[in-house]
């Protein structure tokens, strides 16, 4: 019996050289417990919840009715598609502007012969350590014409005030203003990732290229950028995920309703209003509808993340 047991690898105990899974479980159970109970299970169970209507006491199975409402109901779907569209604009700003700036700054900051690189890095990264709520309130105040009009006009920068309602109060510019503040805050993250990626490129490669007569621009486009494609893919994924996660920026600068007139409403604020707090006049949260929103995000994230992961990370 004893001898037979020893041959099953999974059952090997701590005394053997290679203990099996049953032994190692005791080290993993605390982590698995937290992870499953407070992350994996609630995430997956939200999918089930999206098929029900009403709160805990009076819950009723309704099939896909929440999704039908979300996508086609006159009131709800209008809000949903509006937030959905806004989210893509918000994403575009980050994907294009933030990551392009990040690559550019990283290219500058990995210039061996340039002085003071560490200093610039430290400064650029500071906003990333401050809460979005704090920078949001700050920018809201700075962009408020009531405050900034007089001082800006006195130095001849009056055009920065935009209009009596300010950038954040104008339907046409509010979403761009919020997006740009967010880009300002987070540009340090892609920058530092690209810095690390550029630094990992073998110097011999660039030296060989420069001996062959490649200009710095050619080296950048033909050698450095192609070599960091996996990192670019990773940054793209993180940008994508972060955007459907965004909430604080709109909350701080434009209130929960995505003022003015829902122009800055994002999936995050919509989810909060429908699923957690309850839509304005009624004030009763709808967990089913909220879960339908979060499940939609979940599906979108998976659709966006998995292909990029396979395409950019698979080669290694």
């Amino acid at each position: 019996m004893e001898a037979k047991r020893k041959r099953i690898p999974a059952l090997q105990g701590g005394k053997s050289i290679k203990p099996g899974g049953i032994y190692w479980m005791r080290y993993m159970i605390p982590a698995l417990l937290f992870y499953v109970v407070f992350m994996a299970y609630p995430m997956l169970d939200s999918i089930r919840l999206s098929l029900y209507e009403g709160t805990a006491g009076t819950r009723e199975f309704v099939g896909f009715a929440n999704y039908v409402r979300l996508f086609t109901d006159e009131v709800v779907s209008k809000r949903f598609w509006n937030a959905f569209g806004n989210n893509w604009i918000f994403f575009a700003y980050h994907m294009i502007l933030q990551n392009a700036l990040g690559i550019f700054f990283a290219a500058v900051l990995t210039n061996r012969t340039m002085k003071g690189r560490q200093f610039y890095q430290t400064l650029i990264f500071i906003p990333c350590t401050v809460a979005v709520l704090v920078t949001g309130y700050l920018f809201k105040m700075m962009m408020n014409p009531q405050w900034s009009k007089a001082p800006l006009e006195s130095v001849g920068l009056g055009f920065l005030v935009h209009s009596p309602q300010g950038w954040l109060g104008d339907r046409a510019t509010a979403l761009s203003a919020v997006s740009l503040v967010s880009v300002w805050q987070w540009v340090g993250i892609p920058t530092m990732m690209f810095v690390a990626a550029f630094q990992s490129i073998d110097d011999d490669l660039l030296e060989a290229a420069s001996i062959e007569g490649a200009s710095p621009w050619q080296q950048f486009i033909r050698i450095r950028v192609p070599l960091i494609v996996p990192v670019i893919g990773m940054v793209a994924i993180m940008t994508f995920v972060a955007n459907f996660n965004a909430f604080d920026a709109v909350f701080a600068m434009e209130t929960l309703d995505g003022a003015p007139d829902y122009a800055t409403d994002l999936i995050g604020t919509l989810f909060y209003r429908y699923g957690v707090a309850g839509q304005h006049p009624v004030g009763i949260p709808e967990p089913g509808l909220g879960s339908a929103i979060s499940t939609t995000i979940f599906a979108m994230l998976l659709c966006g993340v998995v292909p990029v992961l396979i395409k950019t990370q698979g080669k290694e």
Binding site: A10, G14, P19, G20, G21, W24, Y27, M28, P30, L32, F34, V37, F38, M39, A40, Y41, P42, M43, D45, S46, A56, F105, T113, M114, G116, Y120, Q121, T122, I124, F125, I126, T129, V130, A131, V132, L133, V134, Y137, L138, F139, M141, W147, P151, G188, I189, M192, A196, M234, I237, F244, N245, F247, V276, P287, G290, S291, S294, F298, L301, Q313
Partner: protein, 288 residues
Amino acid sequence: MTVRKETGERKTRSLRIMNMHIPYHIVMIIWSFISIFPLWFLFINTFKVKKEIYINFFGLPQKWTLENYQALVSNSDFFVYFRNSFLVVVVSLFMILLVGSLAAYALAHWRTKTSRGVYFFFVIGMMLPIKIATIRLLQIMKALNTLNTLFCLFPVYIAMGLPTAVFILTEFIHGLPGELYEAGYMDGAGRFKIWYRIVVPLIRPALATVAIYNLVPIWNDLWFPLIFITKESSKTVLLAVTRLQGQYSTDWPKVLTILALSALPVIVLYLCMSKSFIKGLTAGAVKG
């Protein structure tokens, strides 16, 4: 001969000017200014008296004052908020590191198909924001009767931090030389003893990375306190900021002082150890 020497000199001089990278410096100085200007604006206005901000918005205070800070510090609630935030960060980080390093220790040594599956199960969590589980979490916390206490925040943050912890620590432990364990094993140490006597001290740099990676988002998190906590005595600093911002809505220097105080601990910590911060906050994206 002389001509060649002259062109050579000209070349080194132009190279020297090129290596000064003047256009790059101009760009970086402008962006650095843009990066810190809002924070400069934040801190400078906390030293102004209430009325001065109306006439002098961006400039240095004409008369420096500490009364905004004094007013806030004498408000005893403020200590409660700070204590709560501090507790939330410390307890969550401690648990993430403890539980995460135990799991990583197991995953680094137990290498079968099943263990790869468990590892992947953890790591996929890095890509999925825990926010999408909010509604179900709210029900769970209600059922556990922890709403309005800090105990509804700890488990959420621990779960949120574990994927990166497992990812970073497993790779790190796996990279440690195997002789270390053999030596410990020969001396008769059990696996648990090897974990806390040999592994934990050796993976300190990785533990620091994990801690920093989680510290900033936990301190700066608004979402979960906003949803889970309404009781004053359990509020975190950031949640309190949303309320005090309304309470002092006409006293702008005071509002800014609250914002400044909530941001100050992390900024100071960052300035003291910016290199580890940058490494920590960008970890998890670089494979391996």
